[in-house]
């Protein structure tokens, strides 16, 4: 193989890899038949801090997606806007003072989907690529994109 041919192979390989990775977008998701139509950023922050957020008189149930290590910094910076230790303390205080529920934690995409399928009031966040062809899941809004 000539050097020129080797360079072409490497370039094509790199292009294929970058096309595969693509820009990533984090979206807020619910079950397709959920009554949740919209949630603003303040509502999302309240929800994932464990504060009550009601739709039609029923409280929503946040599911924190921890299936990917890249999700944690985005969750802390973009959704709840605090450090992990401050977030933990805040949710503990909520349980102690008001009996609030801490968000459920899901460690895999399958677990997040299972929670969403089982509960019309469950709200979570996922990579758009994980849900874009799933008819049982509805995207409420974009939370973050790179």
């Amino acid at each position: 193989m000539s050097i020129r041919r080797l360079i072409w192979v490497i370039l094509v390989g790199l292009l294929a890899l970058s096309a595969n990775a693509g820009p990533r977008t984090l979206v807020l998701v619910v079950r397709a038949d959920s009554k949740v139509v919209d949630l603003d950023s303040l509502g999302v922050r309240k929800l994932f801090l464990g504060l009550p957020v009601l739709v039609n008189g029923s409280p929503l149930h946040p599911v924190r997606n921890r299936s990917d290590a890249d999700l944690d910094p985005i969750f802390l910076q973009q959704i709840v806007a605090m450090s992990q230790s401050a977030y933990e303390r805040q949710t503990l205080i909520g349980v102690n003072r008001q009996g609030w529920l801490r968000p459920t934690e899901a460690s895999s995409v399958a677990e997040v989907l299972k929670d969403l399928y089982a509960d019309p009031n469950a709200v979570s966040f996922m990579w758009q690529s994980d849900v874009e062809h799933n008819p049982r899941i509805r995207v409420i809004r974009v939370l973050w994109g790179d």
Partner: protein, 358 residues
């Protein structure tokens, strides 16, 4: 038991209304262990029942807007149902509770409750002490509590709480709150009412300031001292101001209470008033170390007829200490305090381990 039956009926009715919603729960265990050494004693009594080991257990069950919330404290000398509340979440901002709750008129206890891990200092201010540990103000009520909030003035947050219910009574051992699990048949409990309102920079901020009011009728049962034998009840009115300023590394808290009491004897009445306040500062250093200091003081405490009912009450106290969050959700705290009671003074040093598990 009438209140218990009413609570049971309310639970049944609420559960019927919330049927079809998934049942969610939350469990939190806050254990702690403490060593106390007292020295430089110039007082006949120091602390009573210093808990060496305790576990604070919190459980929430929620089905739709219906909530059941309980707190049970087990220690080396007692087991008490501290809170048992049946709640209905009316909206994002408002919840109505029925049951046994901590009175919203206590600044410290409304924020920290019984769990040691969530408060920086080992001890609470003397004016905020629990009834069964020599406290002078009512802390546990059985009745109805409404908590609410609203966004006002360009995103600032107004928080409110009002409560009313069965007030503690005064016994020879101090204040005694109504016990839901073992209701006393020889009871003379009367009612008390409390309110609290505070303003915060936003919905998520710890900083803020507010005021509180309480009006309690405290009946007496079994007082044996000859001078108190004819005391029938005390009408206690409380007004308080409080403020907290919190930044990422430090926190300042200041509270002042003004109390008016009228003591009703069989033949006459006696009025008095006193002021109690405290100021606490905390600073978070590197290596998860937090230093803290608290200054507690009072005016008119020594001459208050009402406070004479609680001779272990610390009318002034200085506290200094250091907390080390040495591993995830576990802390070690050392604290030194100098207390001036109505009968003398003493010093103590404490070492505590506290944690949070769920």
């Amino acid at each position: 038991m009438r209140f218990g039956r009413l609570l049971g009926l309310g639970l049944l009715l609420s559960w019927q209304l919330a049927r079809g919603e998934p049942l969610k729960y939350e469990f939190l265990l806050l254990p702690s262990a403490e060593f106390v050494g007292t020295f430089a004693r110039h007082s006949p009594d120091t602390q009573i029942h210093d808990d060496a080991i305790q576990a604070d257990i919190l459980l929430t069950l929620q089905q739709g807007p219906l909530k059941v919330f309980g707190e049970y404290l087990v220690s080396d000398h007692e087991g008490d149902l501290e809170r048992l509340q049946l709640g209905w979440q009316l909206s994002d901002d408002t919840v109505i509770w029925a049951g046994r709750f901590h009175e919203p008129g206590s600044v410290w206890n409304h924020d920290h409750h019984h769990g040691q891990y969530l408060q920086t200092s080992i001890t609470r201010p003397a004016i905020e002490e629990w009834e069964d540990l020599g406290g002078v103000l009512p802390q546990h009520f059985t009745g109805v509590l409404i908590e609410s909030g609203a966004n006002v003035l360009n995103g600032r947050r107004l928080r409110m709480a009002v409560g009313g219910g069965i007030a503690p009574q005064i016994t020879a051992d101090g204040l005694e709150a109504f016990d839901l699990l073992h209701p006393d048949t020889d009871t003379r409990h009367q009612l008390g009412f409390q309110g609290r309102v505070s303003l915060h920079p936003n919905e998520f901020s710890e900083s803020g300031g507010g005021l509180l009011l309480a009006d309690d009728e405290l009946t007496t049962v079994g007082l044996t001292q000859p001078t108190l034998a004819r005391l029938d009840h005390v009408h206690l009115r409380l007004f308080g101001l409080f403020a907290t300023y919190a930044q990422s590394n430090w926190k300042l808290t200041a509270t002042i209470y003004a109390a008016d009491s009228r003591m009703y004897y069989a033949t006459h009445g006696h009025d008095d008033s006193f002021f109690v306040g405290y100021f606490q500062g905390e600073y978070r250093f590197a290596y998860d170390l937090t230093g803290f200091a608290r200054w507690e003081d009072s005016v008119g405490a020594s001459s208050s007829g009402y406070l004479q009912l609680f001779d272990r009450f610390a009318r002034a106290r200085q506290v200094v200490g250091m907390r080390w969050d040495f591993v995830h959700r576990q802390a070690l705290t050392v604290q030194f305090a100098r207390s001036h009671t109505l009968e003398g003074r003493y010093s103590d040093i404490r070492l505590q381990w506290s944690a949070a598990f769920f």
